[in-house]
Protein backbone atom coordinates (compact mmCIF):
# COMPACT_ATOMS: atom_id res chain seq x y z
CA UNK A 1 0.00 0.00 0.00
CA UNK A 2 2.88 2.29 0.87
CA UNK A 3 4.45 1.54 -2.47
CA UNK A 4 1.27 2.42 -4.30
CA UNK A 5 0.94 5.74 -2.55
CA UNK A 6 4.59 6.43 -3.34
CA UNK A 7 4.00 5.58 -6.98
CA UNK A 8 1.05 7.92 -7.17
CA UNK A 9 3.02 10.78 -5.62
CA UNK A 10 5.91 10.12 -8.01
CA UNK A 11 3.62 10.07 -11.02
CA UNK A 12 1.99 13.24 -9.78
CA UNK A 13 5.39 14.87 -9.41
CA UNK A 14 6.47 13.81 -12.91
CA UNK A 15 3.19 14.85 -14.49
CA UNK A 16 3.26 18.21 -12.77
CA UNK A 17 6.77 18.96 -13.98
CA UNK A 18 6.77 17.34 -17.44
CA UNK A 19 3.19 17.07 -18.72
CA UNK A 20 4.00 19.42 -21.61
CA UNK A 21 6.94 17.23 -22.58
CA UNK A 22 4.79 14.08 -22.45
CA UNK A 23 2.14 15.75 -24.57
CA UNK A 24 4.74 16.86 -27.11
CA UNK A 25 5.92 13.24 -27.20
CA UNK A 26 2.38 11.99 -27.75
CA UNK A 27 1.84 14.58 -30.47
CA UNK A 28 5.06 13.68 -32.30
CA UNK A 29 4.35 9.97 -32.04
CA UNK A 30 0.86 10.46 -33.43
CA UNK A 31 1.92 12.72 -36.28
CA UNK A 32 4.71 10.38 -37.32
CA UNK A 33 2.53 7.26 -37.04
CA UNK A 34 -0.40 8.76 -38.95
CA UNK A 35 1.71 10.35 -41.69
CA UNK A 36 3.94 7.31 -42.15
CA UNK A 37 1.00 4.89 -42.18
CA UNK A 38 -0.76 6.96 -44.84
CA UNK A 39 2.40 7.28 -46.92
CA UNK A 40 3.09 3.57 -46.41
CA UNK A 41 -0.42 2.73 -47.61
CA UNK A 42 0.12 4.77 -50.75
CA UNK A 43 3.42 3.00 -51.41
CA UNK A 44 1.71 -0.33 -50.74
CA UNK A 45 -1.21 0.45 -53.05
CA UNK A 46 1.14 1.51 -55.82
CA UNK A 47 3.21 -1.67 -55.43
CA UNK A 48 0.05 -3.76 -55.29
CA UNK A 49 -1.33 -2.29 -58.53
CA UNK A 50 2.01 -2.50 -60.35
CA UNK A 51 2.49 -6.04 -59.11
CA UNK A 52 -0.80 -7.25 -60.56
CA UNK A 53 -0.53 -5.77 -64.07
CA UNK A 54 -1.44 -8.74 -66.24
CA UNK A 55 1.38 -10.03 -68.39
CA UNK A 56 0.56 -12.47 -71.16
CA UNK A 57 2.70 -14.18 -73.74
CA UNK A 58 0.92 -12.13 -76.41
CA UNK A 59 2.42 -8.89 -75.12
CA UNK A 60 5.35 -7.11 -76.67
CA UNK A 61 8.69 -8.52 -75.37
CA UNK A 62 9.80 -5.06 -74.17
CA UNK A 63 6.63 -4.71 -72.10
CA UNK A 64 7.09 -8.18 -70.67
CA UNK A 65 10.71 -7.47 -69.77
CA UNK A 66 9.75 -4.19 -68.13
CA UNK A 67 6.97 -5.84 -66.12
CA UNK A 68 9.29 -8.64 -64.97
CA UNK A 69 11.90 -6.07 -63.93
CA UNK A 70 9.28 -4.06 -62.05
CA UNK A 71 8.07 -7.12 -60.18
CA UNK A 72 11.62 -8.09 -59.29
CA UNK A 73 12.36 -4.60 -57.96
CA UNK A 74 9.20 -4.57 -55.84
CA UNK A 75 10.07 -8.01 -54.55
CA UNK A 76 13.55 -6.91 -53.54
CA UNK A 77 12.18 -3.79 -51.84
CA UNK A 78 9.63 -5.80 -49.87
CA UNK A 79 12.08 -8.49 -48.81
CA UNK A 80 14.83 -6.06 -47.76
CA UNK A 81 12.64 -3.72 -45.74
CA UNK A 82 10.58 -6.45 -44.16
CA UNK A 83 13.65 -8.46 -43.40
CA UNK A 84 15.75 -5.91 -41.51
CA UNK A 85 15.04 -4.09 -38.22
CA UNK A 86 13.63 -0.61 -38.59
CA UNK A 87 16.08 0.73 -36.03
CA UNK A 88 18.94 -0.31 -38.32
CA UNK A 89 17.19 1.06 -41.40
CA UNK A 90 16.99 4.41 -39.63
CA UNK A 91 20.71 4.41 -38.88
CA UNK A 92 21.46 3.21 -42.40
CA UNK A 93 19.58 6.00 -44.10
CA UNK A 94 20.30 8.79 -41.62
CA UNK A 95 24.04 8.24 -41.59
CA UNK A 96 24.43 6.37 -44.87
CA UNK A 97 23.24 9.05 -47.25
CA UNK A 98 25.58 11.78 -45.94
CA UNK A 99 28.42 9.22 -45.81
CA UNK A 100 28.08 8.37 -49.48
CA UNK A 101 27.39 11.87 -50.74
CA UNK A 102 30.07 13.51 -48.61
CA UNK A 103 27.41 15.37 -46.71
CA UNK A 104 25.71 16.76 -49.84
CA UNK A 105 22.56 14.91 -48.91
CA UNK A 106 22.22 15.17 -45.16
CA UNK A 107 19.42 15.35 -42.65
CA UNK A 108 20.25 18.54 -40.80
CA UNK A 109 18.48 19.93 -37.76
CA UNK A 110 15.01 19.18 -36.51
CA UNK A 111 13.44 19.15 -39.98
CA UNK A 112 16.14 16.73 -41.12
CA UNK A 113 15.31 14.35 -38.29
CA UNK A 114 11.60 14.59 -39.10
CA UNK A 115 12.26 13.93 -42.80
CA UNK A 116 14.47 10.94 -42.09
CA UNK A 117 12.01 9.46 -39.59
CA UNK A 118 9.06 9.90 -41.91
CA UNK A 119 11.04 8.38 -44.77
CA UNK A 120 12.16 5.33 -42.81
CA UNK A 121 8.80 4.54 -41.20
CA UNK A 122 6.92 5.14 -44.48
CA UNK A 123 9.21 2.90 -46.51
CA UNK A 124 9.05 0.24 -43.84
CA UNK A 125 5.24 0.37 -43.62
CA UNK A 126 5.07 0.38 -47.43
CA UNK A 127 6.93 -2.92 -47.57
CA UNK A 128 4.39 -4.55 -45.26
CA UNK A 129 1.44 -2.88 -46.95
CA UNK A 130 2.60 -4.00 -50.41
CA UNK A 131 2.06 -7.58 -49.33
CA UNK A 132 -1.24 -6.79 -47.59
CA UNK A 133 -2.52 -5.02 -50.70
CA UNK A 134 -1.42 -7.89 -52.90
CA UNK A 135 -3.31 -10.25 -50.61
CA UNK A 136 -6.33 -7.95 -50.68
CA UNK A 137 -6.32 -7.87 -54.46
CA UNK A 138 -6.00 -11.61 -54.97
CA UNK A 139 -8.76 -12.21 -52.44
CA UNK A 140 -11.27 -10.46 -54.72
CA UNK A 141 -13.26 -12.84 -56.92
CA UNK A 142 -11.72 -12.92 -60.43
CA UNK A 143 -15.28 -12.52 -61.71
CA UNK A 144 -15.13 -8.88 -60.63
CA UNK A 145 -12.17 -8.31 -62.93
CA UNK A 146 -13.87 -10.16 -65.76
CA UNK A 147 -17.05 -8.15 -65.31
CA UNK A 148 -15.05 -4.94 -65.50
CA UNK A 149 -13.04 -6.09 -68.50
CA UNK A 150 -16.21 -7.18 -70.27
CA UNK A 151 -17.53 -3.63 -70.27
CA UNK A 152 -14.27 -2.38 -71.71
CA UNK A 153 -12.35 -1.18 -68.67
CA UNK A 154 -8.57 -1.07 -68.83
CA UNK A 155 -6.41 -2.56 -66.07
CA UNK A 156 -6.06 0.77 -64.28
CA UNK A 157 -9.78 1.57 -64.55
CA UNK A 158 -10.64 -1.90 -63.24
CA UNK A 159 -8.25 -1.49 -60.33
CA UNK A 160 -9.35 2.02 -59.37
CA UNK A 161 -13.10 1.56 -59.75
CA UNK A 162 -13.77 -2.05 -58.91
CA UNK A 163 -10.95 -3.99 -57.28
CA UNK A 164 -9.27 -1.41 -55.04
CA UNK A 165 -12.42 -0.22 -53.26
CA UNK A 166 -13.21 -3.83 -52.36
CA UNK A 167 -9.63 -4.79 -51.57
CA UNK A 168 -9.19 -1.69 -49.40
CA UNK A 169 -12.24 -2.59 -47.37
CA UNK A 170 -10.73 -6.03 -46.82
CA UNK A 171 -7.32 -4.75 -45.75
CA UNK A 172 -8.53 -2.11 -43.30
CA UNK A 173 -7.80 -4.49 -40.40
CA UNK A 174 -4.26 -4.77 -41.81
CA UNK A 175 -3.95 -1.00 -42.07
CA UNK A 176 -5.12 -0.77 -38.47
CA UNK A 177 -2.52 -3.32 -37.47
CA UNK A 178 0.19 -1.35 -39.17
CA UNK A 179 -0.93 1.89 -37.61
CA UNK A 180 -0.87 0.40 -34.13
CA UNK A 181 2.53 -1.14 -34.78
CA UNK A 182 3.74 2.25 -35.98
CA UNK A 183 2.46 4.03 -32.88
CA UNK A 184 4.67 1.73 -30.84
CA UNK A 185 7.59 1.18 -33.19
CA UNK A 186 8.22 4.82 -33.96
CA UNK A 187 9.95 4.67 -30.57
CA UNK A 188 13.04 3.25 -32.25
CA UNK A 189 13.50 6.56 -34.05
CA UNK A 190 15.22 7.82 -30.90
CA UNK A 191 18.43 6.45 -32.46
CA UNK A 192 18.44 9.33 -34.90
CA UNK A 193 17.32 11.84 -32.31
CA UNK A 194 13.60 11.93 -32.99
CA UNK A 195 11.81 12.98 -29.80
CA UNK A 196 8.59 11.03 -29.55
CA UNK A 197 6.83 9.50 -26.56
CA UNK A 198 9.54 7.01 -25.63
CA UNK A 199 12.42 9.43 -26.20
CA UNK A 200 10.61 11.85 -23.90
CA UNK A 201 10.66 9.18 -21.21
CA UNK A 202 14.40 8.63 -21.70
CA UNK A 203 15.07 12.35 -21.43
CA UNK A 204 12.96 12.76 -18.31
CA UNK A 205 14.29 9.77 -16.37
CA UNK A 206 17.80 10.79 -17.33
CA UNK A 207 17.30 13.80 -15.07
CA UNK A 208 15.42 12.36 -12.08
CA UNK A 209 15.88 8.57 -12.33
CA UNK A 210 12.15 7.91 -11.72
CA UNK A 211 12.21 5.00 -14.21
CA UNK A 212 9.17 3.07 -13.11
CA UNK A 213 6.70 5.92 -12.49
CA UNK A 214 7.56 7.39 -15.88
CA UNK A 215 7.15 3.98 -17.52
CA UNK A 216 3.65 3.75 -16.02
CA UNK A 217 2.75 7.06 -17.64
CA UNK A 218 4.20 5.81 -20.92
CA UNK A 219 2.25 2.56 -20.77
CA UNK A 220 -1.03 4.33 -20.14
CA UNK A 221 -0.34 6.84 -22.90
CA UNK A 222 0.54 4.17 -25.50
CA UNK A 223 -2.43 2.02 -24.57
CA UNK A 224 -4.78 4.99 -24.81
CA UNK A 225 -3.47 5.85 -28.26
CA UNK A 226 -3.78 2.32 -29.60
CA UNK A 227 -7.23 1.76 -28.09
CA UNK A 228 -8.49 4.99 -29.63
CA UNK A 229 -7.05 3.86 -32.96
CA UNK A 230 -8.78 0.48 -32.68
CA UNK A 231 -12.15 2.06 -31.96
CA UNK A 232 -11.72 4.56 -34.77
CA UNK A 233 -10.92 1.85 -37.28
CA UNK A 234 -13.87 -0.30 -36.23
CA UNK A 235 -16.10 2.69 -36.72
CA UNK A 236 -14.61 3.31 -40.17
CA UNK A 237 -15.19 -0.32 -41.14
CA UNK A 238 -18.81 -0.18 -40.11
CA UNK A 239 -19.28 3.03 -42.05
CA UNK A 240 -17.71 1.58 -45.18
CA UNK A 241 -19.95 -1.46 -45.01
CA UNK A 242 -22.88 0.87 -45.36
CA UNK A 243 -26.46 0.39 -44.44
CA UNK A 244 -27.97 -3.05 -44.76
CA UNK A 245 -31.22 -1.55 -45.96
CA UNK A 246 -32.08 0.04 -49.23
CA UNK A 247 -35.07 1.99 -50.36
CA UNK A 248 -37.26 0.77 -53.13
CA UNK A 249 -37.66 3.45 -55.71
CA UNK A 250 -41.15 3.77 -57.06
CA UNK A 251 -40.94 3.31 -60.78
CA UNK A 252 -43.58 5.75 -61.89
CA UNK A 253 -43.79 9.33 -60.86
CA UNK A 254 -47.56 9.42 -60.49
CA UNK A 255 -47.59 6.62 -57.97
CA UNK A 256 -45.03 8.55 -55.94
CA UNK A 257 -47.15 11.69 -55.93
CA UNK A 258 -50.16 9.56 -55.11
CA UNK A 259 -48.31 8.33 -52.05
CA UNK A 260 -47.92 11.86 -50.76
CA UNK A 261 -51.42 12.72 -51.89
CA UNK A 262 -53.07 10.12 -49.73
CA UNK A 263 -51.35 11.44 -46.67
CA UNK A 264 -53.86 14.20 -45.72
CA UNK A 265 -56.61 11.60 -45.85
CA UNK A 266 -55.18 9.99 -42.79
CA UNK A 267 -54.84 13.24 -40.87
CA UNK A 268 -57.31 14.24 -38.17
CA UNK A 269 -58.14 17.28 -40.26
CA UNK A 270 -59.67 15.17 -42.96
CA UNK A 271 -63.25 16.30 -42.49
CA UNK A 272 -62.21 19.87 -42.29
CA UNK A 273 -60.12 19.74 -45.42
CA UNK A 274 -62.96 18.11 -47.28
CA UNK A 275 -65.28 20.81 -46.20
CA UNK A 276 -62.99 23.53 -47.39
CA UNK A 277 -62.16 21.70 -50.55
CA UNK A 278 -64.98 22.71 -52.84
CA UNK A 279 -63.27 21.35 -55.90
CA UNK A 280 -64.90 17.96 -56.30
CA UNK A 281 -62.48 17.04 -59.10
CA UNK A 282 -59.71 16.84 -56.56
CA UNK A 283 -61.66 14.32 -54.54
CA UNK A 284 -62.38 12.38 -57.65
CA UNK A 285 -58.75 12.33 -58.64
CA UNK A 286 -57.80 11.31 -55.16
CA UNK A 287 -60.28 8.47 -55.23
CA UNK A 288 -59.05 7.33 -58.64
CA UNK A 289 -55.45 7.30 -57.49
CA UNK A 290 -56.39 5.41 -54.37
CA UNK A 291 -58.15 2.80 -56.46
CA UNK A 292 -55.14 2.57 -58.74
CA UNK A 293 -52.85 2.00 -55.84
CA UNK A 294 -55.11 -0.73 -54.59
CA UNK A 295 -55.93 -2.53 -57.80
CA UNK A 296 -53.19 -1.40 -60.18
CA UNK A 297 -53.30 0.96 -63.11
CA UNK A 298 -55.83 0.22 -65.81
CA UNK A 299 -53.92 -0.60 -69.00
CA UNK A 300 -53.67 2.18 -71.54
CA UNK A 301 -54.83 4.79 -69.10
CA UNK A 302 -51.64 6.78 -69.39
Amino acid sequence: MDKLTKLITDIDKLWGAYSTAYFTGIRNTLILAVAATLAGCLIGLLCGVLNTIPCSKQDHPAKRFFLKLLRALIRIYVEVFRGTPMVLQAVFIFYGLPYFTDGAVAFKGMSGIWTASLLVVSINTGAYMAESVRGGIISIDPGQTEGAKAIGMTHVQTMVNVIMPQALRNIIPQIGNNFIINVKDTSVMFVIGFVELFATHRNIVGVNLLYFPSAVIEMVAYLTLTLLASFGLRWLERRLDGDDNYELVSEDSLAMSAGTYSHPNRSPFEEQSREYNKNSLDDEARERIRQELKYGTPKGDR
Binding site: K57, G143, I151, Y246
Partner: protein, 247 residues
Protein backbone atom coordinates in the same frame (compact mmCIF):
# COMPACT_ATOMS: atom_id res chain seq x y z
CA UNK B 1 -15.47 -7.17 -97.23
CA UNK B 2 -19.02 -5.99 -97.82
CA UNK B 3 -21.46 -8.03 -95.83
CA UNK B 4 -23.61 -8.01 -92.75
CA UNK B 5 -21.24 -10.15 -90.73
CA UNK B 6 -20.39 -8.78 -87.32
CA UNK B 7 -18.17 -11.72 -86.56
CA UNK B 8 -16.35 -14.14 -88.71
CA UNK B 9 -14.46 -16.76 -86.80
CA UNK B 10 -11.86 -18.69 -88.71
CA UNK B 11 -9.90 -21.75 -87.66
CA UNK B 12 -10.13 -20.74 -84.00
CA UNK B 13 -8.27 -23.08 -81.64
CA UNK B 14 -7.57 -22.91 -77.96
CA UNK B 15 -5.43 -25.16 -75.82
CA UNK B 16 -4.86 -25.05 -72.09
CA UNK B 17 -1.43 -26.60 -71.89
CA UNK B 18 -1.67 -29.90 -73.74
CA UNK B 19 -5.45 -30.01 -73.44
CA UNK B 20 -7.05 -28.96 -76.71
CA UNK B 21 -10.36 -27.29 -75.81
CA UNK B 22 -11.31 -25.80 -79.17
CA UNK B 23 -10.29 -27.14 -82.57
CA UNK B 24 -10.61 -25.29 -85.81
CA UNK B 25 -13.86 -23.46 -85.10
CA UNK B 26 -15.41 -21.69 -88.10
CA UNK B 27 -18.59 -19.73 -88.00
CA UNK B 28 -20.01 -16.31 -88.62
CA UNK B 29 -22.52 -14.07 -86.92
CA UNK B 30 -24.74 -11.71 -88.84
CA UNK B 31 -26.46 -8.66 -87.50
CA UNK B 32 -29.71 -9.71 -85.79
CA UNK B 33 -28.71 -13.34 -85.39
CA UNK B 34 -29.67 -15.12 -82.21
CA UNK B 35 -27.33 -18.07 -82.01
CA UNK B 36 -27.68 -20.69 -79.32
CA UNK B 37 -24.61 -22.77 -78.60
CA UNK B 38 -25.51 -26.08 -77.02
CA UNK B 39 -23.50 -29.11 -76.03
CA UNK B 40 -22.39 -31.20 -73.11
CA UNK B 41 -20.33 -29.72 -70.28
CA UNK B 42 -16.69 -29.51 -71.25
CA UNK B 43 -17.41 -29.32 -74.96
CA UNK B 44 -15.80 -25.88 -75.17
CA UNK B 45 -18.92 -23.71 -75.43
CA UNK B 46 -17.95 -21.28 -72.72
CA UNK B 47 -14.34 -21.19 -73.82
CA UNK B 48 -15.50 -20.24 -77.31
CA UNK B 49 -17.50 -17.34 -75.91
CA UNK B 50 -14.64 -16.24 -73.68
CA UNK B 51 -12.26 -16.37 -76.64
CA UNK B 52 -14.61 -14.18 -78.66
CA UNK B 53 -14.52 -11.58 -75.88
CA UNK B 54 -10.75 -12.04 -75.49
CA UNK B 55 -11.12 -13.07 -71.86
CA UNK B 56 -9.13 -16.06 -73.05
CA UNK B 57 -6.40 -15.64 -75.62
CA UNK B 58 -6.99 -17.95 -78.58
CA UNK B 59 -4.06 -20.24 -79.38
CA UNK B 60 -4.53 -19.77 -83.10
CA UNK B 61 -7.03 -18.63 -85.65
CA UNK B 62 -8.79 -15.39 -86.39
CA UNK B 63 -11.70 -13.51 -84.88
CA UNK B 64 -12.79 -10.99 -87.48
CA UNK B 65 -14.94 -8.23 -86.01
CA UNK B 66 -16.24 -6.20 -88.94
CA UNK B 67 -13.38 -7.63 -90.94
CA UNK B 68 -10.70 -6.73 -88.43
CA UNK B 69 -8.77 -9.48 -86.70
CA UNK B 70 -9.02 -9.19 -82.94
CA UNK B 71 -7.02 -12.31 -82.11
CA UNK B 72 -3.65 -10.85 -83.12
CA UNK B 73 -1.06 -8.76 -81.33
CA UNK B 74 -1.42 -5.07 -80.60
CA UNK B 75 -5.22 -5.14 -80.47
CA UNK B 76 -6.95 -2.61 -78.25
CA UNK B 77 -8.88 -5.24 -76.31
CA UNK B 78 -10.73 -2.85 -73.92
CA UNK B 79 -12.11 -0.76 -76.81
CA UNK B 80 -13.25 -3.92 -78.55
CA UNK B 81 -14.83 -5.40 -75.41
CA UNK B 82 -16.82 -2.21 -74.91
CA UNK B 83 -18.68 -3.04 -78.14
CA UNK B 84 -19.21 -6.70 -77.29
CA UNK B 85 -21.31 -7.12 -74.17
CA UNK B 86 -21.03 -10.18 -71.98
CA UNK B 87 -23.33 -11.68 -69.39
CA UNK B 88 -21.78 -14.24 -67.07
CA UNK B 89 -23.06 -17.32 -65.35
CA UNK B 90 -22.04 -15.87 -61.98
CA UNK B 91 -23.36 -12.35 -62.76
CA UNK B 92 -20.13 -10.59 -61.77
CA UNK B 93 -21.87 -7.44 -60.64
CA UNK B 94 -19.54 -5.00 -58.91
CA UNK B 95 -20.07 -5.61 -55.21
CA UNK B 96 -18.88 -2.16 -54.19
CA UNK B 97 -21.57 -0.36 -56.16
CA UNK B 98 -25.33 -0.07 -56.16
CA UNK B 99 -27.44 -1.48 -58.97
CA UNK B 100 -27.59 1.91 -60.66
CA UNK B 101 -23.85 2.56 -60.31
CA UNK B 102 -23.15 -0.85 -61.81
CA UNK B 103 -24.94 0.26 -64.95
CA UNK B 104 -23.34 3.71 -64.99
CA UNK B 105 -19.67 3.08 -64.32
CA UNK B 106 -18.85 1.71 -67.77
CA UNK B 107 -20.58 4.56 -69.53
CA UNK B 108 -18.77 7.14 -67.42
CA UNK B 109 -15.29 5.62 -67.31
CA UNK B 110 -15.12 3.89 -70.67
CA UNK B 111 -17.47 5.88 -72.89
CA UNK B 112 -16.71 9.16 -71.07
CA UNK B 113 -20.34 10.16 -70.79
CA UNK B 114 -21.33 12.70 -68.16
CA UNK B 115 -23.07 11.43 -65.04
CA UNK B 116 -26.57 12.61 -65.84
CA UNK B 117 -26.62 11.18 -69.37
CA UNK B 118 -25.25 7.91 -68.03
CA UNK B 119 -27.84 7.83 -65.27
CA UNK B 120 -30.77 8.33 -67.62
CA UNK B 121 -29.43 5.75 -70.05
CA UNK B 122 -28.90 3.24 -67.23
CA UNK B 123 -32.39 3.87 -65.86
CA UNK B 124 -33.85 3.23 -69.29
CA UNK B 125 -32.37 -0.26 -69.41
CA UNK B 126 -33.02 -1.01 -65.74
CA UNK B 127 -36.64 -0.18 -66.43
CA UNK B 128 -36.58 -2.52 -69.40
CA UNK B 129 -35.38 -5.46 -67.30
CA UNK B 130 -37.82 -4.54 -64.54
CA UNK B 131 -35.19 -3.57 -62.00
CA UNK B 132 -35.79 0.15 -61.70
CA UNK B 133 -37.28 -0.08 -58.18
CA UNK B 134 -34.01 -1.60 -56.96
CA UNK B 135 -31.53 0.98 -58.20
CA UNK B 136 -30.29 1.76 -54.69
CA UNK B 137 -29.80 -1.86 -53.68
CA UNK B 138 -26.40 -3.51 -53.54
CA UNK B 139 -25.77 -6.79 -55.35
CA UNK B 140 -25.67 -8.75 -52.07
CA UNK B 141 -29.19 -7.59 -51.27
CA UNK B 142 -30.99 -8.91 -54.37
CA UNK B 143 -31.78 -12.38 -55.65
CA UNK B 144 -29.91 -14.28 -58.34
CA UNK B 145 -32.49 -13.64 -61.03
CA UNK B 146 -32.51 -9.96 -60.18
CA UNK B 147 -28.71 -9.86 -60.29
CA UNK B 148 -28.71 -11.42 -63.72
CA UNK B 149 -31.26 -8.92 -64.99
CA UNK B 150 -29.08 -6.09 -63.68
CA UNK B 151 -26.08 -7.69 -65.37
CA UNK B 152 -28.01 -7.67 -68.65
CA UNK B 153 -28.93 -4.01 -68.14
CA UNK B 154 -25.28 -3.22 -67.38
CA UNK B 155 -24.20 -4.85 -70.64
CA UNK B 156 -27.00 -3.14 -72.60
CA UNK B 157 -26.15 0.27 -71.18
CA UNK B 158 -22.88 0.13 -73.12
CA UNK B 159 -24.91 -0.05 -76.37
CA UNK B 160 -23.07 -3.17 -77.55
CA UNK B 161 -23.36 -4.44 -81.10
CA UNK B 162 -23.63 -7.98 -79.88
CA UNK B 163 -24.34 -9.61 -76.53
CA UNK B 164 -22.66 -12.79 -75.39
CA UNK B 165 -24.45 -14.86 -72.76
CA UNK B 166 -22.40 -17.46 -70.93
CA UNK B 167 -24.92 -19.88 -69.38
CA UNK B 168 -26.92 -16.98 -67.95
CA UNK B 169 -29.43 -19.17 -66.11
CA UNK B 170 -27.24 -22.04 -64.92
CA UNK B 171 -26.59 -20.52 -61.48
CA UNK B 172 -30.23 -19.68 -60.84
CA UNK B 173 -32.97 -21.39 -58.90
CA UNK B 174 -35.56 -22.87 -61.25
CA UNK B 175 -38.19 -20.29 -60.37
CA UNK B 176 -35.84 -17.47 -61.34
CA UNK B 177 -34.84 -18.88 -64.71
CA UNK B 178 -38.07 -17.66 -66.28
CA UNK B 179 -37.57 -13.98 -65.48
CA UNK B 180 -34.12 -13.94 -67.06
CA UNK B 181 -35.19 -15.89 -70.12
CA UNK B 182 -38.11 -13.50 -70.47
CA UNK B 183 -35.75 -10.54 -70.70
CA UNK B 184 -33.61 -12.39 -73.23
CA UNK B 185 -36.64 -13.28 -75.34
CA UNK B 186 -37.71 -9.65 -75.52
CA UNK B 187 -34.18 -8.63 -76.51
CA UNK B 188 -34.21 -11.21 -79.28
CA UNK B 189 -37.56 -9.91 -80.52
CA UNK B 190 -36.11 -6.40 -80.70
CA UNK B 191 -33.39 -7.60 -83.02
CA UNK B 192 -30.41 -7.67 -80.65
CA UNK B 193 -27.58 -9.80 -81.99
CA UNK B 194 -26.99 -12.50 -79.40
CA UNK B 195 -24.74 -15.49 -78.83
CA UNK B 196 -26.14 -17.65 -76.07
CA UNK B 197 -24.41 -20.60 -74.48
CA UNK B 198 -27.23 -22.42 -72.79
CA UNK B 199 -28.68 -25.62 -71.46
CA UNK B 200 -32.21 -24.27 -71.88
CA UNK B 201 -33.30 -26.31 -74.88
CA UNK B 202 -36.73 -24.70 -75.05
CA UNK B 203 -35.13 -21.28 -75.32
CA UNK B 204 -32.71 -22.50 -77.99
CA UNK B 205 -35.55 -24.05 -79.96
CA UNK B 206 -38.04 -21.20 -79.74
CA UNK B 207 -35.93 -18.07 -79.78
CA UNK B 208 -32.76 -18.64 -81.76
CA UNK B 209 -32.31 -18.15 -85.46
CA UNK B 210 -29.50 -20.69 -85.48
CA UNK B 211 -28.41 -23.49 -83.20
CA UNK B 212 -24.81 -24.63 -82.93
CA UNK B 213 -24.11 -27.99 -81.36
CA UNK B 214 -20.60 -28.40 -80.03
CA UNK B 215 -18.95 -31.65 -79.11
CA UNK B 216 -15.38 -32.12 -77.84
CA UNK B 217 -14.15 -28.76 -79.03
CA UNK B 218 -15.56 -28.82 -82.53
CA UNK B 219 -18.79 -27.59 -84.08
CA UNK B 220 -20.53 -30.88 -84.72
CA UNK B 221 -23.68 -29.57 -86.30
CA UNK B 222 -25.36 -26.25 -86.91
CA UNK B 223 -28.54 -25.05 -88.56
CA UNK B 224 -31.98 -23.69 -87.87
CA UNK B 225 -33.66 -24.86 -84.67
CA UNK B 226 -36.08 -26.90 -86.76
CA UNK B 227 -33.20 -28.70 -88.47
CA UNK B 228 -31.10 -29.35 -85.39
CA UNK B 229 -33.93 -30.29 -83.04
CA UNK B 230 -36.30 -31.80 -85.58
CA UNK B 231 -33.97 -33.63 -87.84
CA UNK B 232 -30.43 -33.87 -86.45
CA UNK B 233 -27.95 -35.26 -88.97
CA UNK B 234 -25.08 -36.30 -86.73
CA UNK B 235 -25.36 -39.31 -84.41
CA UNK B 236 -23.69 -37.29 -81.59
CA UNK B 237 -26.34 -34.60 -81.86
CA UNK B 238 -29.11 -37.14 -81.77
CA UNK B 239 -27.61 -38.82 -78.74
CA UNK B 240 -27.14 -35.49 -76.93
CA UNK B 241 -30.68 -34.34 -77.61
CA UNK B 242 -32.14 -37.70 -76.66
CA UNK B 243 -30.30 -37.55 -73.36
CA UNK B 244 -31.68 -34.08 -72.73
CA UNK B 245 -35.22 -35.07 -73.51
CA UNK B 246 -34.93 -38.10 -71.25
CA UNK B 247 -33.91 -35.88 -68.38
Amino acid sequence: MENNNIFEIRHLSKAFGSHQVLRDIDFSVEKGDVISIIGASGSGKSTLLRCINLLETPSSGEILFHGQNMAGKGVNAPAYRAKVGMVFQSFNLFNNMTVLENCMVGQIKVMKKDRETARLHALEYLEKVGMSPYINARPRQISGGQKQRVAIARALAMDPEVLLFDEPTSALDPEMVGEVLGVMRSLAREGMTMLVVTHEMAFARDVSSRVVYMNQGVICEQGSPAQVFGNPQQPETREFLARFIDN
